[in-house]
């Protein structure tokens, strides 16, 4: 009897033991490095011993880059001429008031590499929000459906007063810059026209992919039933009479204009001077510029200018970048000196 009781108790105890063990087993958390927050880790610390040499290195590197950028930037020739023509003393003092054809002369120093010819506008807000949305990307992609019913974004330049659709619609297209320039070099008293290259002044992707003409041939057919933008003198398919592939929405000047400038003072590429006799830049000498003055900017007190510049491997003349590098670099070095002084005085706890 006693034995059976003993067995019973023993059984009971072992059962309990099993249950308890199982419970412990199931409830025990996983003992992995992740769950125990003990993953191997790199534990860097921004101590003076690392930061001061780091600052010196960064500072020296920045100063080096800054000097290189500054010297490069200095070597770039830039010639800027304002031709708004509403002030006396400027090269084109009476341009705004006189007839359409104007010209003025200037000297250009010797330059290296091809020269780029820009026009610039100031106080002109191509970055107005409403202005920026005022175009129809589908239309400009050559989808004919949108020729007859342009997007609402284009208002008030979507339809003319006769309710005919405008193509290309919208403020941006409508306000396209339309002054034209001719450049002459004066050699021994005779004017020689400098040939200007209008190819490749817009982004390759804009020209080839983003903007497309409808496939109609001739292109004019696609524009049936539409009218040209109000401020335009020629319809889109006749923008460049000399080159049929430079018409419609893929006209390079149009594409350049359509890429909105970020800031109210901007310049846009007009032509390149890299053909004929000038692949390596303009020789020093006297030049004159003939301007067809169409674009009115004095209404909003804007300015117009032309810019001739060559470029280097790091783009156009921009002294800011070089100076900024120099400043940040020397700040780094200066700060490391300051930290050294602090170190000398207060002694960092880790360097004793």
């Amino acid at each position: 009897h006693i034995l059976s009781h003993y067995n019973h108790k023993h059984k009971y105890i072992s059962l309990e033991f099993n249950v308890k063990n199982q419970l412990k087993f199931t409830n025990r958390p996983d003992n992995t490095a992740f769950t125990q927050q003990r993953l191997p880790a790199w534990q860097p610390i921004l101590s003076a011993g690392i930061v001061i040499p780091g600052f010196v290195l960064i500072g020296l590197a920045f100063i080096g880059v800054g000097v290189a950028l500054f010297v490069t930037s200095r070597s770039i020739q830039v010639l800027e001429r304002d031709y708004t023509g509403d002030e006396s003393g400027t090269p084109c003092a009476s341009c705004a008031n006189s007839n359409v054809q104007n010209s003025f002369g200037f000297c250009f120093p010797q330059s290296q590499g091809p020269v780029f010819f820009y026009y610039g506008l100031s106080n002109y807000f191509q970055n107005y929000r409403r202005y920026g949305t005022s175009k129809d990307d589908n239309q400009l992609y050559g989808v004919l459906k949108y020729f007859t019913s342009p997007s609402d974004n284009c208002a008030p330049y979507a339809y003319n007063s006769n309710n005919q659709p405008i193509v290309p619609c919208g403020s941006i297209a409508n306000s396209m810059f339309n002054d034209t320039f001719k450049l002459y070099q004066t050699v021994n008293g005779t004017r020689q026209e400098v040939s200007l290259d209008g190819k490749g002044i817009a982004w390759w992707t804009d020209y080839n992919i983003k903007y497309r003409n409808p496939t109609n041939n001739p292109l004019k057919d696609a524009f049936n039933g539409t009218v040209k933008p109000i401020y335009w003198s020629k319809p889109a398919y006749e923008l460049d009479t000399s080159d049929p592939s430079n018409n419609g929405f893929v006209n390079q000047d149009f594409l350049v204009w359509m890429r909105r400038a970020a800031l109210p003072d901007f310049r846009k590429l007009y032509r390149r001077i890299s053909q004929d006799k000038y692949p390596d830049g303009l020789p020093a000498g006297n030049y004159s510029l003939e301007i067809t003055y169409n674009y009115r900017v004095y209404r909003f007190s804007g300015k117009k200018k032309v810019v001739f510049s060559n470029v280097s491997w790091m783009g156009g003349k921009n002294e800011f970048l070089g100076i900024a590098y120099l400043v940040v670099g020397s700040m780094c070095v200066f700060m490391s000196i300051v930290m050294l002084i602090v170190y000398a005085k207060f002694k960092f706890p880790d360097e004793e």
């Binding site: 009781h5 009971y12 308890k20 412990k24 409830n27 958390p29 996983d30 769950t35 125990q36 927050q37 003990r38 993953l39 880790a41 790199w42 860097p44 610390i45 921004l46 101590s47 011993g49 690392i50 930061v51 040499p53 880059v65 950028l69 807000f125 191509q126 970055n127 929000r129 409403r130 202005y131 005022s134 990307d137 992609y141 997007s151 008030p156 403020s171 306000s175 982004w203 992707t205 992919i209 983003k210 400038a261 970020a262 800031l263 590429l269 209404r299 909003f300 280097s312 783009g315 156009g316 003349k317 800011f320 900024a324 590098y325 940040v328 050294l340 602090v342 960092f348 706890p349 880790d350």
Partner: protein
């Protein structure tokens, strides 16, 4: 006495109106007693779900949009839909939709589960007695007044009054494990006059009405009266909580019972206790909301400034409407005020990203996911219990790092609550039972040592009486061969294995101790308690009455009749509650022993008795029945009756039970002290015992000067004087020394420990009679407490515990409090404190269930606070600050851009960038940082608790650091914007002379932005696991890949292609690369500089430790290389300066 008459008598009792009358079995009472008014009660349907199928969407939407943040984003979204705004509604609609949907799905799923559970409960069958037969009903159809049959192991379907049970004595056993977690069996009693009706036929003949109070949530309170009509002669009997079976409890060890439904459905006590706990909010959340308000103000002022400037600027008509950008006719017609308002809204929309919707999601994810690390922690797993830490709310993770006051319970929290009988003392003679050998206890007197000389015959009689008293005066049950969770002690007696079970471990220890001394309690049989005496004879005592224990009286009594016919009252209780009632006995000897034991940290109880003559017994019976019959203030009346009965006692002796300290409790308390946390012990125990525990647990040190604020002292002096005395003592000390945080630890200055007891506390807290004076007491008390390193509050009632916590919470510094306890008496303080922690102890799981976090042992508190709390605080504060910082960097350039685009709300960044910046480009690194960051190793945090002081008082989220982050954000934004501005200023970026447009400008700024904020986080990261590397570099790579993809394809579903090839064109230009590197460096420099200089000039303890371990880890070689390099640099500078 019919109740209508009673009702007439008790007119003055105002609560009487709030009662209900229940007709058992829906039978009308006999005519003439009372009008039969069938009251209407709800059915027995339980509804815990929040929504129905139909109202889910509107109700859930309503609740979600009641949150300020969601509402704000909804408004922004609607504004974007309605007016012509710079960004498309998708930018705010998509994230909002995502957040709302995820939350709705989660809540819907939870509610569906609740519906399922409700249905299961509501449809389960119950047995109802109708017309003498048992029929089955669905639980939800049960009505008040139905007589219900419940069988063993069934759960009660509603609150019932027990009428009869299968046991002859009319008792039944119940566990309330699912209600309050106490798994011990409790005994419930049937009404004496109905207990005989224990078949369905008989039960059906019961003709009675029950009057009881309306439902109230207190589980342990119930008053009512049953009127039984036998032969039209109504008999009134009292009903108390011992008659009430609660819904949710389970019938045990009883074949079946009959009971009548009293409260049904949502009126049951369980349902009334459903109410959710009030939401606790952490200090970090409060700072976050304050920052949010600041940013909202910044946002609005930005919009107002821009709108105002826009109209100033536009006053020139050429600017307002230049020829190239004319308005439509409709726009011109619009009133200027409407235009201005629309512009204001548009600016709001443009800048709204400064308050990111993703911050809330990220913070919530961080808290939710982060809490898993607590649950996963293997060091907080207890082998013995097989339990790990439990997180009931993840909202308070970071609050664990902010705790300033810890309020801890003593029994079961600091101590193990594993009672062991140590000794007893009868009339000054001390008896010590021998240690248990191999589980066997010597049954004879050889098992005990007599410390004093052998007692005389009179003492002999006292001794036996004492042992019998302890064998009889308890509420222990004997369980034979059954496993019960909870307190379990095997006694090997005869041929069966039995256990003593009680809700109080002290009682079990005492009864077991008696067994070892030769007197074994066998069982309670038919109202007779059987004990086995030393001569192996069974003695039987009739149990006449039990005067149950309560924490106010702090004693309990039984009235028994011995076989000789003599009636005894045995009383057992705390010394303070026994001694005043004793009229004879060797009080001084016993008192001396009790005090000595108490100093040693033992729990002592005194035992006394009183012989009752038949007349006295009659009187006692009357007193008790009168009190028990009362419907109103029954507790008060009972207490008065007990007070009258338990008097003129003769002291027998005292017992001592040891409650061992929990493992590493002292170490934990010491660490908490070093961490600058004040530890208060709140206990119901007596002062000496508690103080001894405090010494043992190193709460008090040997050189701690103890200040007493106890009844003993206030009896001698007035409370006023004592308080002022103490405060003078404390202040004199602290006035003299500098308040350095570390000096408090050094040995030379005395630190103070305060002991206060419940009665004095009540006096201190009592609202003022003399106006300002009482407020003064509180102030003085707080002042004393503030200067004490440890405080012990003894003799505390549960509510007083909560009161203390509340007092400290409301004091002027508003410290963060933490309460830790294991029993039901700690629940109030756990709920009251900022953070409530439950210890998985022996006194049920009620504390665990009501807590925010639960841990198996007290020692786990150390890791919980010092490691987890510290980490979570560091992590979340960086998370919050960083989120605001990165959005300042994000939006401020956009604000600056408005000055250069004629305030036309032109966005600087593309829509995709606006939408994804917070969602995918910069979200994962900070989320992972806030889960993984360890600025210091875990082991160091545990070893060096002082580090906890570094983050005290919400130090990382103070206004100065918030302003620093904001200023840093603004600085970075200015560097980025104007850096790009000057680069774009009238120059070409490419070697083919082509120009970039506005989107390139924005993309340049955005690229610098994404890299800068990510690198800033990288600089702040101290713990680079592969996950951090993966996420930080991964999200930068993702940004680049996304940008390439986004600009690489003509996306057919978009009506604009403004980003086409912009990113690629930018990368093809040299100056862009140079400027990106320059701007990132320039943005990060000041922060690095600040860090290094601060680290050198004002290092925090954390930083000292970091540097120390870093140097050690890097090893000698690396260290030397660094040093040599450093010296070279030094030398170069020296030369430069000299030249």
């Amino acid at each position: 006495m019919p109740c209508s008459k009673l009702k007439g008598i008790c007119v003055g009792e105002e609560n009487w109106v709030d009662s209900r009358t229940i007709y058992i079995g829906h039978k009308e009472p006999p005519p003439g007693t009372e009008a039969f008014i069938q009251q209407r009660f709800p059915d027995n349907r339980i509804v815990s779900s929040k929504y129905t199928f139909w109202n889910f969407i509107p109700k859930n939407m309503f609740e979600q949009f009641r949150r300020v943040a969601n509402f704000y984003f909804l408004i922004i979204f609607l504004v974007q839909l309605i007016i012509d705004t710079p960004t498309s509604p998708v930018t705010s609609g998509l994230p909002l939709f995502f957040v709302i949907t995820v939350t709705a799905i989660k809540q819907g799923y939870e509610d569906w589960l609740r519906h399922k559970a409700d249905n299961a409960v509501n449809q389960c069958p119950v047995h109802v007695v109708q017309h003498g037969k048992v029929t089955r009903k669905q639980s939800r159809k049960l009505r008040v007044g139905d007589v219900v049959l419940v069988k063993e192991d069934e759960t009660f379907p509603c609150d019932l009054v027990l009428l009869a049970s299968s046991r002859d004595d009319g008792t039944c056993f119940v566990t309330t494990a699912s209600l309050d977690g106490e798994s011990s069996h409790k005994t419930y009693y049937a009404v004496q006059d109905t207990k005989a009706y224990n078949t369905e036929k008989e039960v059906d003949t019961i003709h009675a009405t029950i009057e009881c109070e309306q439902p109230q949530p207190d589980l342990y309170k119930f008053v009512g009266r049953i009127n039984i009509y036998m032969n039209n002669e109504p008999v009134a009997r009292p009903l108390g909580s011992e008659n009430l079976l609660l819904r949710g409890a389970t019938l045990k060890n009883t074949e079946y019972i009959y009971a009548v439904a009293i409260y049904t459905g949502m009126e049951t006590k369980m349902a009334l206790n459903y109410q959710s706990k009030s939401q606790k909010r952490s200090a970090v959340e409060k700072s976050m909301n304050a920052y949010l308000v600041v940013y909202l103000c910044i946002l609005i002022s930005k919009a107002v400034i821009n709108t105002a400037l826009k109209y100033v600027w536009q006053s020139d008509p050429n600017r307002d409407e230049p020829f190239y950008n004319q308005r439509t006719e409709a726009e011109r017609q619009r009133h200027i005020l409407i235009r201005a308002f629309t512009d204001f809204l548009a600016f709001m929309v443009l800048f709204n990203y400064i308050i990111p919707v993703s911050m809330y999601v990220t913070v919530e994810m961080q808290k939710f996911l982060g809490s898993y690390f607590i649950m996963w922690d293997d060091e907080m797993f207890d082998e013995e219990l097989g339990e790990r830490a439990v997180v009931n709310t993840s909202d308070l993770n970071e609050e664990l790092g902010q705790v300033e006051y810890v309020f801890t319970d003593k029994t079961g929290t600091l101590t193990e609550n594993n009672m062991e009988f140590i000794e007893c003392c009868v009339d000054g003679h001390v008896y010590v039972p021998h240690a248990i050998c191999n589980g066997q206890v010597m049954p004879d007197a050889a098992g005990m040592d007599m410390i004093d000389s052998s007692p005389g015959p009179e003492a002999r009689e006292h001794e036996e009486l004492f042992f019998r008293a302890l064998c009889l005066c308890h509420t222990v049950q004997v369980k034979e061969e059954e496993t019960v969770d909870g307190i379990k002690h095997g006694i090997h007696q005869g041929k069966s294995t039995s256990f003593y079970i009680s809700s109080s471990p002290d009682e079990v220890a005492l009864v077991e101790g008696m067994k070892r001394l030769g007197f074994t309690y066998l069982r309670l049989n038919d109202g007779q308690m059987e004990i086995l005496n030393r001569e192996n004879e069974v003695e039987k005592f009739d149990l006449l009455d039990v005067l149950t224990f309560d924490s106010v009286r702090r004693r309990m009594s039984v009235i028994v009749r011995a076989s000789t016919g003599e009636v005894y009252l045995f009383c057992k209780g705390a010394d303070s509650s026994i001694f005043p009632r004793v009229i004879s006995g060797k009080v001084d000897q016993v008192r001396a022993r009790v005090e000595q034991n108490a100093v040693e940290g033992l729990r002592t109880l005194c035992v006394a008795y009183r012989r009752l003559s038949p007349d006295q017994y009659q009187e006692v019976c009357q007193l008790l029945s009168r009190a028990r019959l009362a419907l109103q203030d029954r507790d008060k009346r009972l207490a008065e009756a007990y007070d009258l009965i338990e008097k003129d006692l003769i002291l027998l002796g005292a017992t001592a039970v040891e409650d061992r300290l929990q493992e590493k409790a002292a170490d934990t308390i010491e660490s908490l002290h070093k961490a600058g946390i004040k530890v208060w012990v709140l206990t119901g125990d007596k002062m000496e015992t508690a103080a001894a525990t405090c010494y043992a647990s190193k709460l008090f040190h040997r050189n701690t000067q103890i200040l007493e604020l106890t009844t003993k002292r206030t009896e001698e002096q007035s409370l006023h004087d004592v308080l002022f005395d103490l405060s003078r003592t404390v202040l004199r000390q602290h006035g003299g020394m500098t308040r350095d945080t570390f000096s408090g630890l050094s040995g030379d200055c005395t630190d103070y420990g305060l002991i206060i007891d419940g009665a004095t506390l009540t006096a201190v807290m009592r609202p003022g009679q003399e106006g300002s004076n009482s407020g003064n007491y509180k102030e003085k008390f707080l002042e004393i407490c503030r200067n004490c390193s440890a405080v012990l509050c003894c003799r505390m009632a549960p509510l007083q515990k909560a009161q203390i916590v509340k007092l400290i919470k409301a004091s002027e510094e508003h410290p963060i409090t933490l309460a830790i306890g294991d029993g039901a008496n700690d629940v109030s303080m756990i709920l009251e404190a900022h953070v409530g922690i439950g210890v998985m102890g022996k006194e049920g799981r009620q504390a665990v269930r009501n807590s925010d976090y639960a841990i198996p042992k007290f020692k786990h508190l150390k890791k919980m606070l010092l490691v987890h709390g510290h980490y979570y605080y560091i992590r979340i504060s960086e998370l919050v600050q960083y989120f605001f910082y990165k959005n300042v960097c994000f939006i401020f350039p956009q604000f600056l851009y408005q000055f250069f685009c004629g305030f036309s709300q032109q966005p600087l960044y593309d829509t995709a960038y606006l939408t994804l910046y917070n969602i995918s480009f910069t979200s994962l690194p900070i989320l992972l940082y806030s889960l993984m960051e360890q600025h210091i190793n875990m082991d160091i945090l545990k070893k060096d608790p002082c580090l906890y002081r570094d983050i005290a008082k919400n130090s990382l989220l103070r206004w100065p650091s918030f302003i620093y982050w904001t200023v840093l954000g603004v600085y970075d934004a200015i560097v980025m914007f104007f850096g790009a501005y000057f680069l774009f200023d009238n120059t070409t970026f490419t070697s083919n002379g082509q120009m970039f447009g506005n989107w390139t400008f924005g993309t340049l700024v955005f690229t610098v932005l994404v890299f800068t904020v990510t690198f800033k986080l990288a600089l702040d990261t101290h713990y680079w696991t592969w996950i951090n590397h993966f996420v930080i570099w991964g999200s930068l790579i993702f940004f680049v890949v996304f940008s390439l993809l986004w600009g690489g394809i003509i996306w057919p579903f978009l009506n604009y292609q403004r980003m086409y090839y912009v990113f690629m064109q930018m990368l093809s230009s040299g100056p862009a690369w140079f400027s990106i590197i320059l701007l990132i460096t320039a943005s990060l420099l000041p922060d690095v500089l600040k860090k290094v200089i601060w680290r050198a000039l004002w290092p925090t303890t954390t930083e000292r430790i970091q540097v120390g371990t870093n140097a050690g880890r890097n090893g000698e070689l690396l260290y030397k290389i660094k040093k040599i390099f450093f010296l070279i640099v030094l030398w170069v500078f020296w030369n430069n300066c000299c030249n």
